[in-house]
């Protein structure tokens, strides 16, 4: 359906701009327009129950310009005859049950005209929401809870094979934090995902992207709908040797905070998930990263930062940092 400025005729779908959205109605004549609820710019719109009602052109337009719907060739074949459209609209006068996303004025006119509901703005907004960048990062202190079975079974067996109890504990709790993150961010159960391990030893999932890091007392998990990388490191509290800095930092990075540089590079490497780690091949300035500190730890995140939210998890509750 396209909309043009022209004089309406009986049975036309009409609309008018109301702020950033459109208000719709079925035109019969200048004194009889059937609409579901008043124009959103009308004082009576807010807080009151909206019904299918008759109004006049002046009240419908609220000083804006009228647009008339011109159905496409395929829509014309599906459209009811004008008399039927008007009858469908008149039959519903007095009806309530207005809902901004499931039963609004646009849904109403499409039902009268075609027998089905449609709302272009709601579809657009829903598409925008589903395509947004998601990057949720969860940080938690290791709590030394008892190691139980994890999913998938291959990961479970890996953790159970680790002889070093501290390392096994870290990996178990990190995977549990991943399970928590998947549920909280995507409202999915980890059992709904499949996991596989690459030749380089990195775990991947079919439905989401994730990255895990642990250091001493803290775990960090990032979950996203796009590639992401996270890294957390305990600050060593001593000067780093020039020799070490030369192994990690490019010339232009040597004067920067070493732990920031280190965690940024690790997070970028995980974001790229490409080959063997060589910090001298990673130029921090070419990537978008976020770095901050928590107690005596430094952490960095690489990914779509416009969707970034960071949480501290305590007692199974995630609080925004």
């Amino acid at each position: 359906m396209r909309f043009v400025y022209k004089k309406p005729t009986k049975g036309n779908m009409i609309r008018v701009k109301a702020g950033l959205i459109y208000h719709y109605g079925i035109y019969i004549d200048n004194n009889n327009i059937i609409q579901f609820g008043p124009n959103p710019l009308d004082e009576s719109y807010m807080g009151k129950e909206k019904k299918v009602m008759v109004t006049d052109l002046k009240s419908f337009l609220k000083d804006s310009k009228l647009l008339v719907g011109i159905p496409s060739a395929s829509e014309q074949k599906k459209m009811f005859k004008k008399e039927e459209v008007i009858l469908n609209a008149k039959k519903r006068i007095g009806e309530s049950g207005y809902n901004i996303i499931h039963n609004n004025c646009e849904h109403f006119v499409y039902e009268c005209m075609f027998g089905y509901k449609k709302c272009s703005i709601a579809d657009l907004v829903r598409k925008k929401y589903r395509n947004r960048n998601i990057l949720d990062v969860y940080i938690k202190k290791i709590s030394n809870e008892n190691i139980k079975d994890v999913y998938p079974n291959t990961r479970n067996k890996e953790i159970k094979r680790i002889k070093n109890k501290k390392v096994a504990q870290e990996k178990y709790e990190a995977w549990e934090l991943l399970r928590f993150a998947i549920k909280r961010t995507f409202n999915m159960d980890i059992l709904d995902l499949t996991f596989h391990k690459s030749k380089m030893g990195r775990w991947y999932s079919n439905k989401i992207k994730f990255s895990i890091s642990h250091s001493n007392d803290y775990l960090m998990v990032g979950v996203s709908n796009k590639a992401c990388g996270v890294d957390i490191e305990k600050n060593k509290g001593k000067e780093y040797t020039d020799k070490l800095k030369r192994k990690v930092c490019l010339k232009k990075e040597e004067n920067k905070d070493f732990m920031e540089t280190w965690t940024k590079k690790e997070s970028i490497f995980k974001y790229l998930s490409d080959g063997l780690y060589n910090p001298l091949k990673i130029d921090i300035s070419k990537y978008e990263t976020y770095t901050s500190k928590l107690n005596d730890y430094t952490y960095s995140i690489c990914g779509k930062l416009d969707g970034l939210h960071i949480y501290l998890v305590e007692n199974d509750e995630a609080k925004r940092l």
Binding site: A18, G19, L20, I21, P40, Y45, M46, G47, K48, E49, K50, Y98, N99, I100, I101, H102, I121, A122, V125, R126, K128, Y129, R130, R132, R184, N187, H309, Y311, E317, A318, K319, R320
Partner: protein, 82 residues
Amino acid sequence: MLSRNEIIEKLKDILVSANDKPIELDNVTEDKKIMTDFGLSSVGMLYMVIAIEETFNIEFGDVDINTFVTLKDVVDYILGKL
């Protein structure tokens, strides 16, 4: 099940995305009025409602969203649906 605080945290994220103007997250409290205190546009309101449905896996099928005045009204409704 999500706690009341967690629901509010998620709503804060949604309000930030729904709003064209920046909002102070510390000012997002349950007594705040959705339309007047956060200055949501009509599209912003639509985005907020759709985001709530998708985030909490619920449907606002049986209620006119315009009857929600404060954030508390929204939180109570979500808790009732979970």
